[in-house]
């Protein structure tokens, strides 16, 4: 299985925020979700991949090539949607498309028009009359119209209604089924990823917490509920973030077997979703 994207020891220092030795890889033909709370470093990673900001260390290899040395060739094979697409709002979608189209040799007008129809986007209405959802749809239509092999999306579903979010996820899933495309998708709406992602990379405070196959994440992580009397200095270290109340504790573990072995039926073990993982990991970091 070849990696379409490989990041090794990536570093970026903003002074008040440091991205530290980030490493992960995305195999060809899969969807990876990049999750983390606001300000965790998701957008920074995506900007570094797109060479929109300068890195202070590490390597980024896309399609097996360095993203700086082969920038033009690589970018022609990437469909990019960023979190706040600011198109000239006095222009209409047709004019925007006419500006962007000449830069892509592989631009397919039919694909673009099909997506415009599917998303019910008006071609001759100025962008300033578009809702945020429509602007995002327009950005997605543009990103998907030049046969990109890697699609990178920074928070594409934020600000979208649940119906379109589901439509978009279905569309991405179809793309993956019909063509050998790979998708890197950052979001803090974790339910979107539980639906379609194959791999999850969790970043917090500029550090990678984990980068694993989704199934592996759900196998390892679990929510544990029990009485406060079970917690002592040793048992506390078995958890990734603990929330205590007068009725007991709720905590996240990444080693379900250890918890079962030590606590047995004294605790209740539930499946943790990505939101739980993000929340409890953040608790640990904040208390660290």
């Amino acid at each position: 299985m070849e990696n379409v994207l490989e990041i090794q020891k990536l570093r970026k220092n903003y002074g008040d925020f440091v991205l530290q030795d980030v490493s992960f890889s995305l195999p060809e033909g899969y969807i990876m979700g990049l999750i983390g709370p606001n300000g965790a470093g998701k957008t920074t990673i995506i900007k570094l991949i797109m060479n929109l900001i300068m890195r202070h260390g590490g390597n980024i290899s896309i399609f097996g090539k360095d993203n700086l040395e082969h920038e033009v060739e690589i970018k022609s094979r990437i469909g990019f949607v960023y979190d706040n697409p600011n198109y000239y709002d006095h222009l209409n979608l047709k004019q925007i498309k006419n500006i962007i189209r000449p830069f892509y040799k592989e631009w397919n007008e039919k694909v673009f028009m099909d997506l415009v129809d599917q998303f019910e986007l008006p071609l001759k209405k100025t962008i300033k009359k578009f809702s945020r959802g429509m602007v995002m749809k327009a950005a997605i239509a543009i990103a998907l119209s030049h046969h990109a092999d890697l699609i990178i999306m920074d928070e594409p579903t934020s600000g979208l209604d649940p119906v379109f979010r589901r439509e978009l996820l279905d569309l991405l899933y179809q793309l993956l089924q019909s063509e050998k495309k790979s998708i890197l998708f950052s979001t803090h709406i974790t339910s979107d990823l539980e639906r379609i992602a194959d791999y999850i990379t969790f970043i917090n405070h500029g550090k990678i917490v984990f980068s694993k196959a989704k199934d592996e994440v759900f196998e390892n992580y679990a929510l544990v509920k029990g009485g406060n009397d079970l917690l002592n200095e040793e048992t506390k270290t078995w958890f990734t973030g603990i929330r205590k109340s007068q009725f007991g504790f709720e905590a996240l573990t990444d080693d379900v077997n250890k918890i079962k072995k030590n606590f047995g039926s004294d605790v209740v073990i539930d499946r943790a979703n990505l939101e739980d993982i993000m929340y409890f990991s953040n608790l640990r970091n904040n208390h660290a």
């Binding site: 900007k47 797109m50 060479n51 929109l52 900001i53 300068m54 920038e71 033009v72 060739e73 690589i74 970018k75 022609s76 990437i78 990019f80 960023y82 706040n84 697409p85 600011n86 198109y87 000239y88 709002d89 006095h90 222009l91 004019q95 006419n98 500006i99 962007i100 000449p102 830069f103 892509y104």
Partner: protein
């Protein structure tokens, strides 16, 4: 490259209409006011007004891109940043030359309609005058652009203005300091004077063709250095 220039004109079309309307209007008003109040065009003031108008109009494309944060869009397209810089210079130079041509056309229409015989017009409307002005505008833009690529349009223009004003103050200041030190230090200031006079004599002695070659050479060098600096700054810029 052409696509980038084309994009500037598509994205800025609304503002270009403003340029087409404002430049002839202000040029004509300025000329009419000077002729009415002073009985003729004060060439220095007129040239200054036209230059300010042309330089301001050349920032339209950068202003539009900055307002819509469009740099992010273009930097994510399959184009080298150096090409974005080069295209920005070209489109701004085209716009500056176009704005200046509009001002010149307004001037021509004034001369034609009112049958003006002011000798100032002979200088402004001569081929040599027009070319010199356009090249001078390119030089000024080349001075300002690296600041914009380093600091962004708002801070960049301010920094360039401060630098220009500082230079304007520095030249007479240095001259003053040299004069003051003439009696104290044993520098051979006459040597500098001789050098300056020799250079001036040499320039005056050039044929028209040689002078054009020299001017084009200097302007091209300034533009190339400016582009080099801008590319360097823009390549390192976090968008």
């Amino acid at each position: 490259m052409l696509n980038l220039i084309r994009k500037d004109f598509i994205a800025g079309w609304m503002f270009l209409i403003g340029v087409v309307l404002i430049i002839p209007f202000i040029t004509l008003i300025a000329m009419w006011a000077m002729m009415d109040d002073f009985g003729g065009v004060i060439i220095g003031v007129f040239t200054f007004i036209v230059m300010i108008l042309c330089i301001a109009s050349s920032f339209i494309f950068m202003g539009v891109d900055s307002a819509y944060q469009a740099e992010m869009i273009y930097a994510s397209l399959p184009i080298k940043r150096s090409r974005i810089v080069f295209a920005r210079y070209l489109s701004s130079f085209i716009l500056t030359a176009g704005s200046f041509s509009l001002a010149v056309l307004s001037c021509f229409s004034m001369v034609y309609i009112f049958n003006e015989t002011d000798p100032a017009f002979n200088i402004i409307l001569s081929f040599r005058g027009i070319i010199s002005m356009i090249l001078f505008l390119f030089m000024i833009l080349s001075f300002i652009f690296p600041f914009i690529f380093k600091f962004g349009i708002g801070k960049g223009v301010t920094a360039a203005l401060i630098m220009q004003i500082s230079l304007m103050i520095a030249v007479p200041l240095i001259k003053f300091v040299f004069k003051a030190l003439q009696g104290i230090l044993a520098f051979d200031f006459a040597f500098f004077n001789r050098m300056l006079h020799t250079a001036i004599k040499w320039i005056i002695g050039l044929t028209a063709f040689q002078a054009y070659v020299l001017i084009f050479g200097i302007v091209s060098l300034v533009i190339l250095v400016s582009i080099g600096l801008s590319v360097r700054f823009y390549n390192r810029m976090d968008l």
